[in-house]
C-alpha cells in the first residue's frame, strides 16, 4: 500500500492504494464516483475519460499513484442536474445519448476538444477528434451535432462570464 493525495472535483482526497491501482479503479471503487465508466481493457473505448490537470486522459491507463498532487475532474465535477455544463446540456438537447454508458467519457472528451480547438468546430474535425471514444447506440450522428452546439454554448457562456 502507498498513500496518495490529489484533488478530485475540487476536493482534496487522500487514500491508501495498492501500487497497481489504476486511476479509473481509484475513482470508481475508492471514491465511489461511478460516473467514470470502464468499457474495455485496451484504452480504446474512452468511457473512462477524465481530465487530469485540465487535459483529457483515459483513466484506465493511468496509475493512481502517478496522479500525486494533481487535479482530477470527473463527469460528477463538470456540472450538476440544476447547473449543467453547456456540453452536458447540448448532449441532452440533441439526443446524443441512448444507453448513457459512453456518455461521461464522450462529454469529457468533447469539453477537452473545445478547450484545445476552440468553439468553431466542423463535422470532420469533430468526427476525427472523437476517434478515441466508442458509442454503440447513436451512430454518432447526434453526438456530432451536440458537440458542435455544446462548443458554441461553451463560448457563449465564456463571453457572458467575461462581460
Amino acid at each position: 500500500m502507498a498513500t496518495i493525495a490529489m484533488t478530485v472535483n475540487g476536493k482534496a482526497v487522500r487514500a491508501d492504494v495498492e501500487p497497481r491501482t489504476l486511476l479509473a479503479q481509484f475513482i470508481r471503487d475508492q471514491l465511489r464516483l461511478t460516473g467514470t465508466h470502464v468499457g474495455c481493457d485496451t484504452s480504446q473505448c474512452g468511457a473512462c475519460v477524465v481530465h487530469l490537470d485540465g487535459k483529457a486522459v483515459k483513466s484506465c491507463t493511468v496509475l493512481a499513484l502517478s496522479c500525486e498532487g494533481k487535479r482530477v475532474t470527473t463527469i460528477e465535477g463538470l456540472g450538476e442536474p440544476e447547473r449543467l455544463h453547456p456540453m452536458q446540456e447540448a448532449f441532452r438537447e440533441h439526443h446524443a445519448l441512448q444507453c448513457g454508458y459512453c456518455t461521461p467519457g464522450m462529454i469529457m472528451s468533447a469539453v477537452d476538444l473545445v478547450q484545445r480547438k476552440g468553439s468553431r468546430l466542423d463535422e470532420k474535425t469533430i468526427r476525427e477528434e472523437l476517434d478515441g471514444n466508442l458509442c454503440r447506440c447513436t451512430g454518432y450522428h447526434n453526438i456530432v451535432r451536440a458537440v458542435a452546439a455544446g462548443a458554441q454554448a461553451m463560448a457563449a457562456q465564456a463571453m457572458r462570464q467575461a462581460s
Binding site: 471503487d29 474495455c40 481493457d41 480504446q44 452536458q88 439526443h95 468526427r127
Partner: protein
C-alpha cells in the same frame, strides 16, 4: 394536446442522470461485504478436462471460494437452456447437447467456463485464478461452419451427429421447383453473413446476493429481460423458487440482443453467494465479452430467384447453414429459423418460397440474437438477390423493385407472415427523391473524372416486430409467451407510477411511456414515473428485444390506462352525482354532460382513496389497474434505405457520400428517439458491411478479441444520415405503432453492398468490405484473375 404527448420530440427525462454520471449500472453497485469473482476459462477450443487442481489457488491470499462444475452438479444446479424447440424436416426434435454453467468433462470453445475463483479483492481473485491448474487433453476442433457437418469432423456433442442441431425447412418445395422450371431468368448468389460481436459498451456484469434471514437470493445483472432471467434461473436451473429470487436489471448500457440471454456467470454468482455467505460480484472485461458474450449472424447461404419474362419474381429458393456455436444459447435456435425465413418474401409479391436451414455446432462462442436477429440475414438475401436480378435483366433496380412490390394488404406470404399494412411504393418514391436518384449518373460521371468509383445501392427491407400472438409462437416451438404486462398505480395525490415488464437499456422508455400516460390521463409528465427492471416491483414481464416495447409494452400500458380511466369515470360519476354514461374524460378533466360539474383527474384519484363518496360494496377503494397485452399479429415495419458511396480504387477506401433512410414505423411516439434508433441501427449495419468481423483461426482461437483487433465503427468511419418517415399505422395495436429499434441494422448491409457492387461493376465482394477487400475487388478483373 399536451406538449409532452404522443408525437412530440420530448427531451429524455433519463438523460439528466446519465449526463451527470449519476446512472446506476450493475458494475456501479457495491454491496456490503462483497467479494469478487473471476472465471477460469478454457484457452482451448475443444478439449477434455482430465483434472482441475485448485490446491495452490485455494492457498492464495484473499481467496474465499473456488468452485467447479462438480460443485454445481452436487447442488443439483441445472445447465443453461435453449427456450425454443425447433423440429427438423423429418419431424425430429432438435439435437441439443448439455450446457453446464461450468464445464465438467469437456470444454467446447475458447472462453468456455471451467471454474470460478472468488476472493476479497478483484486483483486477488485474478491472481488466484492464474494458479488454478487445469489438465486438458486437447481435441481437434470443428471451427469452420462450411466444414463442420462433413463426415470425419470433430464432434462437439454426442447428441448431435455431424454437429447438426437441426435440418429445418419452411415453404412449398414442389411449388418452388415448378416455378424455377418455367422461369425465363434465374439469379443465383453465394452469400456470407459475417459473424459479429454485439459489443454493448457496458460489459456484462452480475452481483449475486443471499439473505440468510429470508432465504432469498438477489441478482443484479445486465439484462434486457430480468423476469425471463428469474424464470429460467428458477424453473430450469433450480437456483431458488421464483418467490425467493429477485432479479434487478438497473441501468443497462446497451444490449442489442446480447443481454437477453441467461449466462453462466449469472448462474454461478447467484448460487455462489450462498456458498460463500457474501455478495459475489463479477464484471466482464472486454476480452471476456468478446470470448463469451453470444455472437451474432454467421450464415452461409445459397440463394436463387426465378423471374418471368416481364421481370416478375416467381420464386425464391434459399439454403442456409447457420452457425450456432458450441452450445445453444437461450433463443439461438429461433434466430436462423422463425426469425429468418418468414421474412424472405421481403416487400415483394412472391408466389413461392422454399428455405432450408441447417443449425450447426462449431467450437466457437454461442451465436444468438443480435440487433435484427434473423431479419438482417433475410434482408441481405432478398435485397442482394433482387438487386443482382435487376442488373442481370438490365432493369433499373428501383423500378424492378416497384414492379414486384406488394400492393394489397393484408398480404399472406408463402412463408407464414401475414403483412397487415404498408405502402412500399410510397417509401421508395420518397427515398429516391430524397437521395436525388435522378442525379446519380451525373455524380457518377463526375467521380469517374476524378478517378473514383461511385455507386448507389437500395435496400427495401421488411421487418417483423413484436413477435406474437403467444399461442402462435408457442405452436412454432417458443417456450414462452410473448405478451407484455403493465400496472398503473395512481397515488392519492394524483401522481402515477407505471410498472412495465419492458426494460429500457437506451430506448428511452422513461420518456416515451410517460408521454403516453401524460397524454391519456391529461396530467403533467413530471407526475409520471416509469418503473422497470426489478422483479420485486414489476410482477412479470417479457422484456425488451425484437423492437417490441412500443408495440407490445406500450399497448399493455394503454390497456391498463383504459381500466384506470373506466374506474375513475365511475368514481367521478358518483362524486358528481350523475349517471356514469354522462361523464366524459378529456385532457385530464371529468365532466358531466348537461351540467357544469367537473373534476380533475387528481381530485378523482384522491376520492378513490378517501372512499367517502361511493359505495365500497359496489366500487373498491383505490386506483390501481394492471393489464397483460397479447398482440394479435406481428407488426411489419418497412422502409427503403439508399446508400451512395465513392470508392478510391488506389486505397480501397469506401466513403459514404449520402445515406437516405425512409422508414414506415406507423405512428411515432417520439420522433427524436425514433430517429436516434435509426441512426444507431444504420451505424451497426454499416459496421457489419464495412468493418466488423469476428475471426477464429483454424485452432479455434478468437483472434479479434479486443477493440484493437475487432473494428468497431468510430465517428470518422460514418457520415450523417438523412432520415425521414412515412406512416401507415399498424392496425393490430391500439397505438398504431410498429417498432423501430432494429430497422437500420436490417436495412443497411444490403444497401451498402449493393452500392459497392454498383461502383465496382461486379458482384464479387463479401462483408466486411474492408479497404483491402475493396482495393482487390476494384482492380481490373484480369489482374485479379491472374493472381
Amino acid at each position: 394536446m399536451s406538449e409532452n404527448g404522443i408525437g412530440q420530440s420530448v427531451r429524455r427525462r433519463e438523460d439528466i442522470r446519465f449526463i451527470t454520471g449519476a446512472g446506476q449500472y450493475t458494475a456501479d453497485i457495491s454491496r456490503p461485504g462483497q467479494v469478487y469473482a473471476v472465471f477460469v476459462r478454457s484457452p482451448h477450443a475443444h478439449a477434455k478436462i482430465k483434472r482441475i487442481d485448485i490446491a495452490a489457488a485455494e492457498k492464495a491470499p484473499g481467496v474465499v471460494g473456488i468452485f467447479t462444475g462438480k460443485d454445481l452438479a452436487a447442488d443439483k444446479i441445472g445447465g443453461l437452456i435453449c427456450g425454443w424447440m425447433i423440429h427438423s424436416k423429418d419431424g425430429s426434435p432438435m439435437k441439443a447437447g448439455a450446457h453446464p454453467a461450468l464445464a465438467t468433462d469437456k470444454v467446447r470453445y475458447a472462453g468456455d467456463h471451467v471454474a470460478v475463483v472468488i476472493a476479497e479483492s478483484l486483483d486477488q481473485a485474478r491472481d488466484a485464478a492464474e494458479l488454478v491448474s487445469v489438465d486438458y487433453q486437447i481435441l481437434p476442433p470443428a471451427v469452420r461452419l462450411a466444414d463442420a457437418q462433413k463426415p470425419g469432423q470433430p464432434q462437439l456433442h454426442d447428441e448431435a451427429p455431424n454437429n447438426t442441431v437441426y435440418e429445418w425447412h419452411l415453404g412449398d418445395k414442389a411449388a418452388v421447383e415448378a416455378a424455377f422450371a418455367k422461369a425465363t431468368h434465374r439469379t443465383k448468389l453465394e452469400l456470407t453473413n459475417n459473424r459479429l460481436v454485439p459489443n454493448a459498451i457496458e460489459p456484462r456484469a452480475a452481483i449475486g446476493e443471499y439473505d440468510r434471514g429470508s432465504g432469498g437470493y438477489t441478482l443484479y445483472t445486465t439484462s434486457q429481460n430480468p423476469h425471463v432471467a428469474r424464470l429460467v434461473l428458477s424453473a430450469f436451473i433450480g437456483i431458488a423458487p421464483e418467490n425467493r429470487l429477485r432479479v434487478i436489471a438497473p441501468d443497462v448500457g446497451g444490449g442489442f440482443g446480447s443481454k437477453i440471454f441467461i449466462y453462466a456467470e449469472e448462474v454461478v454468482c447467484t448460487w455462489a453467494a450462498k456458498k460463500v455467505g457474501r455478495p459475489v460480484k463479477w464484471v466482464a472485461d472486454r476480452s471476456e465479452s468478446f470470448l463469451a458474450d453470444a455472437h451474432g449472424r454467421d450464415h452461409i447461404t445459397t440463394a436463387e430467384a426465378a423471374m418471368d419474362a416481364s421481370g416478375k419474381i416467381l420464386a425464391l429458393r434459399v439454403k442456409t447453414k447457420a452457425n450456432l456455436g458450441a452450445y445453444l444459447s437461450t433463443f439461438s435456435s429461433s434466430v436462423p429459423t422463425y426469425l429468418y425465413a418468414p421474412l424472405l418474401s421481403g416487400q415483394y409479391d412472391i408466389p413461392a418460397i422454399y428455405c432450408e436451414v441447417d443449425g450447426v455446432y462449431t467450437n466457437t462462442a454461442p451465436v444468438d440474437a443480435y440487433r435484427g436477429a434473423g431479419r438482417p440475414e433475410a434482408t441481405f438475401v432478398v435485397e442482394r438477390l433482387v438487386e443482382v436480378a435487376a442488373r442481370e435483366l438490365g432493369k433499373d433496380p428501383a423500378e424492378f423493385r416497384m414492379h414486384n412490390f406488394i400492393r394489397k394488404f393484408p398480404h399472406q406470404t408463402p412463408v407464414l407472415s401475414n403483412y397487415d399494412a404498408g405502402n412500399y411504393a410510397a417509401c421508395m418514391k420518397m427515398a429516391a427523391e430524397a437521395a436525388d436518384y435522378a442525379g446519380f449518373s451525373a455524380r457518377k460521371a463526375k467521380s469517374a473524372k476524378q478517378g473514383k468509383l461511385r455507386g448507389i445501392g437500395f435496400s427495401a427491407y421488411i421487418e417483423a416486430c413484436g413477435i406474437a400472438p403467444s399461442k402462435a409462437v408457442g405452436s412454432l416451438g417458443a417456450g414462452v409467451g410473448l405478451w407484455e404486462s403493465a400496472e398503473i398505480r395512481v397515488n392519492a395525490t394524483g401522481t402515477v407510477e407505471v410498472l412495465s415488464g419492458s426494460h429500457s437499456h437506451g430506448q428511452g422508455h422513461e420518456t416515451t411511456f410517460a408521454q403516453l400516460v401524460s397524454q391519456r390521463l391529461g396530467i403533467p409528465i413530471e407526475q409520471v414515473s416509469i418503473i422497470h427492471g426489478d422483479t420485486d416491483k414489476v410482477q412479470m414481464g417479457m422484456g425488451t428485444y425484437g423492437s417490441r416495447s412500443a408495440a407490445v409494452g406500450m399497448s399493455a400500458i394503454f390497456k391498463a390506462l383504459d381500466k384506470v380511466i373506466a374506474k375513475a369515470t365511475k368514481i367521478a360519476a358518483r362524486c358528481m352525482e350523475v349517471p356514469e354514461t354522462n361523464v366524459d374524460f378529456t385532457d385530464g378533466v371529468f365532466s358531466a354532460r348537461g351540467s357544469n360539474k367537473t373534476m380533475k383527474f387528481g381530485e378523482v384519484a384522491l376520492q378513490a382513496y378517501v372512499a367517502h363518496k361511493f359505495d365500497t360494496a359496489e366500487i373498491e377503494p383505490g386506483l390501481k389497474e394492471a393489464a397483460f397485452y397479447d398482440p394479435t399479429n406481428f407488426t411489419f415495419p418497412s422502409g427503403v434505405h439508399i446508400a451512395e458511396v465513392e470508392i478510391d480504387p488506389d486505397t480501397g477506401r469506401t466513403t459514404i457520400e449520402r445515406w437516405t433512410a425512409v422508414d414506415d414505423f406507423g405512428n411515432l411516439i417520439n420522433p427524436m428517439i425514433v430517429e436516434g434508433q435509426v441512426h444507431g441501427g444504420v451505424a451497426q449495419g454499416i459496421g457489419q458491411a464495412l468493418l466488423e468481423q469476428a475471426v477464429y483461426d483454424a485452432s479455434g482461437q478468437l483472434v479479434t478479441a479486443s477493440y484493437m483487433d475487432y473494428c468497431m465503427p468510430r465517428a470518422s468511419d460514418l457520415s450523417s444520415f438523412d432520415v425521414a418517415m412515412t406512416n401507415t399505422p399498424c392496425p393490430s395495436n391500439p397505438l398504431g405503432v410498429k417498432g423501430c429499434g432494429e430497422a437500420g441494422a436490417i436495412a443497411a448491409p444490403a444497401a451498402l453492398i449493393n452500392a459497392i457492387t454498383s461502383a465496382l461493376g461486379h458482384e464479387d465482394i463479401a462483408m466486411p468490405a474492408t479497404p483491402q477487400a475493396v482495393w482487390r475487388a476494384s482492380r481490373p478483373r484480369r489482374e485479379i484473375a491472374a493472381e
